[in-house]
């Protein structure tokens, strides 16, 4: 069995937006008892990640490390057609990747207590992002 649903998120620039509840709702709608649920973004300058959901400081600290990994406006970059954050956003998107997959049991996401699913925007400006949730089981 397979089920797929798409939704959009308007981000407010660089930072994280929790989407666990929206994904959980789609998983319940799918009604597949045992499955893999994949959460995928159709973009190359934002990511989906699973990380700690209790202390927002964790995500602020991840921003610091992501900026070290791929600084904005690094003079080594060749690609900068959309501005100082353009290449940095593509490189940051590699860290967490374009998708996460979560096991499903009894028709519900089998996340650990402290795991949340986040859309991680890497562009400094607001963007409209398309998220595809696919369950197979």
């Amino acid at each position: 069995m397979a089920y797929q649903q798409t939704f959009e998120i308007r981000t407010r620039g660089r930072g994280t937006t929790e989407i666990t509840a929206e994904v959980a709702r789609i998983v319940r709608t799918a009604g597949i008892a045992t499955a893999i649920a994949q959460v995928f973004v159709q973009h190359t300058s934002c990511s989906v990640m699973i990380t700690e959901n209790a202390d927002p400081a964790v995500r602020r600290d991840l921003e610091i490390l992501a900026a070290r990994w791929a600084p904005d406006a690094d003079r080594a970059y060749e690609h900068d057609s959309e501005g100082d954050d353009d290449m940095a956003a593509h490189a940051r998107s590699l860290l967490a990747g374009s998708s996460v997959s979560v096991p499903v049991r009894n028709g519900a996401l089998l996340l650990g207590t402290w795991q949340g699913i986040y859309l991680w925007e890497h562009r400094t400006g607001a963007q409209l992002r398309r998220v595809v949730v696919t369950l197979v089981g």
Copy 2:
């Protein structure tokens, strides 16, 4: 078809534990000829990764690079409620991620000769970790 099984691992602090044999056993039990097998940890301070299985020095060298990417006790971190390795562990877990997926053919893991599946503990202290293996095919 879908099949799911969970197991626990007691880690001895930061470092890797090979879980290829345990995952392979679950895949054989599932008895699904062609599938994707997902190995997922329900935690945000350890990872699952696929890496070279012949020379343990590879995994020691990965520790060195992971410590450069996210040093313990970095003064830039805001989050340190569980100690000097707390934020570093969350950041390290992003490198390899919460899960890997491996193709299954003829009811067996289709890994390359030099690929092993490892649980990578990022906390410095021993932890009990829960691993969920899900096959869909």
Copy 3:
């Protein structure tokens, strides 16, 4: 339903080779309407990644950042049995990982406009790489 097909690529050393068209062809052959398509390499010194497909400079810039993350011949490395690029290649392969998964809708890859699928070779010499594409849906 599940479908699996394998193909080989001869790389010309470090750099990216786009494989979107080859994966799309396999997805069409599979004929599964709604699915997850996984693209997996059976190696620990190359990756599969999804990144920007319009400007080749993006992939050149990713090489620069990958070399900062895991420099060749770093004196801290213990593992160097296959040369100066050996350990760097294993570490680089962790960045993007051994596989990507892409949703399938109406029997076709559901990629965004600017997303391409690339095999990313991390060894400096030419290699023959095996790619496994698995669809479940």
